[in-house]
Symmetry: C2
Subunit: 165 residues, 2 copies
Amino acid sequence: MDRFAARSLALRPAQRRDREDILHVLLHSEVFGLADADCVGEMFDETWAKPRPDGYRWLTAWLGQSLVGFACYGAEALTQGTWDLFWICVLPNYRGQGIGRALLEAVLVDAQRESARLMVIYTSSTPAYAPARSLYEAAGFVCVARVPEYYRPGDDLCIYWRRLG
Amino acid sequence: MDRFAARSLALRPAQRRDREDILHVLLHSEVFGLADADCVGEMFDETWAKPRPDGYRWLTAWLGQSLVGFACYGAEALTQGTWDLFWICVLPNYRGQGIGRALLEAVLVDAQRESARLMVIYTSSTPAYAPARSLYEAAGFVCVARVPEYYRPGDDLCIYWRRLG
């Protein structure tokens, strides 16, 4: 709390040099693991290797010189105006301060600026993801669909959904 | 019907030279369009450019020298044993002869050989996809989840699901 009050939060699109800091946040999230980091690393590299208007977008959250959270999002292929929040993550020590909420709101603003019609979020049904699900619900998302045992036995896919614009 | 009876159906993994025939099937499907063909072309190219054990798999259906259908499938990242049937398509003149069913069954056999636990299929709720949905249901898939207006207004995402093994 002190830190956030003392130094103001800044959000800005990621730069290529933020790669290691983003992976650091993910790997210290106490939620995501090595396989997730591989996936995020690949998505990050693809963003810079093959820039395209419908590619992944990365937003970073900073307190002073420290990258403390990020979001990755973008348009879903083969849809008309449906966007996907692929990743959102804040370092544990900086949670409960509205940083996740600020990232999510900024993502929604950017997507609406691009005339997005819907935003969807794919997430897990397990207790570890309860804070994330609460964040989505507080931002107006509804769980509209659930795919049983999608991630592994006992771990369903929950699809959160919100109209935009 | 004559053709299928006269020349027996052969299924085999795609080879790199099948690219144009696969796109031909897709573009003459009367279901898929140019955006789908771009997506399939990219997935096909990625399969050969970056071969990996968990990459896309392609199965082709042949009557004599003619490629008349194909399927594309593979493991879903970040899941434990969930596989996805990304594409399945048969040329209109060759439908109703069990070719789609044969492709789908062969996909299920291959996935089970790789210890897949679940297979999911993402498809559209619109009338154009009714034959595809019937095919999935006949093969034991159930629509477990529906995301409203995912593809466009009036066009929901239906998620079909089947346990394997």
